[in-house]
Amino acid sequence: MSTKSSRLAARLMLSPSVVLLLIWMIVPLVLTLWFSFRRYNLMYPDRQGFNDFGNYTRFVMSSDFGLAVLNTLILVGAVLVITVVLGILIALLIERPMWGQGVVRILVISPFFIMPPVAALIWKNMFFNPTNGLFGEAAKYLGLPPFDFLGQAPLASIILIVSWQWLPFATLILLTALQSLSGEELEAAEMDGAPPVSRFFYIILPHLARSITVVVLIQTIFLLGVFGEILVTTQGGPGSASTTLPYLIFKEISLDKDVGTAAAGGVVAVILANIVAIFLMRAVGKNLDA
């Protein structure tokens, strides 16, 4: 449906976005690459010059690196599983006829509107805090010893916070998809004698496949960058128990003031993110004829 002039117009109108995103991607990337091969520590401004792969070996060989990668994957994976599974269950529940569906829906989406630092602070202080938090109170009420969530199970606590934030997103998308499923299809299955569990696995779940894809894709993009929640709650600790890759890089800058190593870490993170991206686009892109 196009003529030469409309193709030309299209190219012209597309170019600002492409150029801006290219600049946004390439300039920092090139600078990061440059720094990653330099000695560049804000605490020792006199040490300069090339460091070959020194920054990389320092970053990758550090004892925390493997843990950080693992933590990142656990965080992303766990949040995805929790939000998708709970999302499906909640969507199935609130899709059914009830009184006050509108209000229920508003309540369920609410966490999505909460900025990460607020979410983290609320959970950290008012729930996880072993002395004054509500979980502590609940433990006291049940006669259990208080549990120091952020100290004893830092990564799990962060996973809980992040899942809470993203659950509404998954629920909503799955709910929308569920509502588009025709009742006739389910009735036909019921006529065919399929019990509820089979109806779920053979009809509802396949119908949701595309939406689950969307949830996984979008959430992964945001989850790989989870940062504020960690900064505000555990700061990666105790030790490095809840340090993710982004947070490890942040620590290089904020604690060690080592820009060179942080840059090397950045490059590593970009490479890993791209691997995840390619993997994800391959796995998921086909499903999305967007």
Binding site: M1, S2, T3, K4, S5
Partner: protein, 331 residues
């Protein structure tokens, strides 16, 4: 004015030559129908004339001026789309006025022309509604209204009736024909429905695989199809084709005989009735003729012929079409 000339117009999408090369002359005031099966390139040809697609080669002249490189807006043509393509966010009035607004007419002039068009098309009562609140036929009329207010040199219709139900299609077909008689403006009409082509056209252009198979008046095409394709495409029910010994007897590779040109009762073809449909005014009979094969016959209305009967058929010798091996008519 609305004289359109296509000179060796070609359209390719990459390696696919949708239109390998078309020459066509459309006279001012003519009602031309492009007809052909889906994918024959008829819509593409229309879009080339409209300027919605670039030609890959060749020239399009409108009223003697080269329009090949002009954008659609400057060709002075109006188009009615299959989906009507009404602007859903505008009222009927604004829809019809849109081309006038684009042309920079004053509000008063716009209103005058819209009212006039609405009166012609019986839309006056609906001017303040949105397209979504209208029936299919009314939407169709709005689309036509939007086209006529521009006073274009030619109208282009892209399968405009295919989304309407059968009864409405007949009414709208007549309305468009009447409109043509009133306006006397060139109209180019694309359809896959040969009935529309036969009933509306001054001139039919039969297209197949991007090529023009034949150009002529409806009756020309009916009486003297140039080739097997046209013979099979024009006329309903379809012409019967017979090959083999019977064709050889007529010194042809294939002979064709229209269902309505076969007499029932006597004659030297004999066969068994497979199916007979009684419509009241006509009967459609499917007969397995001995030594020839399946023949469809259109016979008189109140015929007592049923499945399994043996009947005799008499093809009208004057109405037999003969074709050579390449499918060309032998005259």
């Amino acid at each position: 004015m609305g004289q359109i000339t296509l000179k060796a117009v070609r359209k390719s999408f990459g390696e696919v030559h949708v239109i390998p090369g078309v020459d066509l002359e459309i006279a001012d005031g003519e009602f031309v129908v492009f007809v052909g099966p889906s994918g024959c390139g008829k819509s593409t040809l229309l879009r080339l004339i409209a300027g919605l697609e670039d030609t890959s080669a060749g020239q399009i002249m409108i009223d003697g001026k080269d329009a090949t490189a002009l954008p659609p807006a400057r060709r002075g043509l109006a188009m009615v789309f299959q989906s009507y393509a009404l602007y859903p966010h505008m009222t009927v009035r604004k829809n019809i006025a849109f081309p006038l607004k684009m042309a920079g007419l004053s509000e008063a002039e716009q209103a005058k022309k819209v009212d006039a068009a609405a009166a012609v098309l019986n839309l006056t009562a609906y001017l303040d509604r949105r397209p979504g609140q209208l029936s299919g036929g009314q939407r169709q009329r709005v689309a036509i209204g939007r086209a006529i207010v521009r006073e274009p040199s030619a109208f282009l219709f892209d399968e405009p009736l295919s989304n309407l139900d059968a009864a409405l299609r007949v009414t709208m077909r007549q309305e468009i024909s009447e409109l043509h008689q009133t306006l006397k403006t060139t109209m180019i009409y694309v359809t896959h429905d040969q009935v529309e082509a036969m009933t509306m056209a001054d001139k039919i252009v039969v297209l197949n695989a991007g090529r023009i198979e034949q150009v002529g008046s409806p009756l020309d095409l009916y009486r003297a199809p140039d080739n097997l394709f046209v013979a099979g495409f024009i006329g309903s029910p379809k012409m019967n084709f017979i090959e083999g010994a019977e064709a050889a007897r007529h010194k042809a590779h294939t002979i064709g005989i229209r269902p309505e040109h076969i007499g029932v009762g006597s004659g030297n073809w004999e066969g068994t009735v497979l199916l007979s449909e009684h419509l009241g005014s006509d009967s459609f009979i499917k007969v397995d003729v001995d030594g020839i094969g399946i023949i469809n016959v259109r016979a008189g209305g109140e015929l007592g012929i049923h499945h399994g009967n043996r009947i005799r058929l008499a093809p009208d010798a004057d109405k037999i079409h003969r074709f050579d091996q390449a499918g060309k008519a032998i005259r």
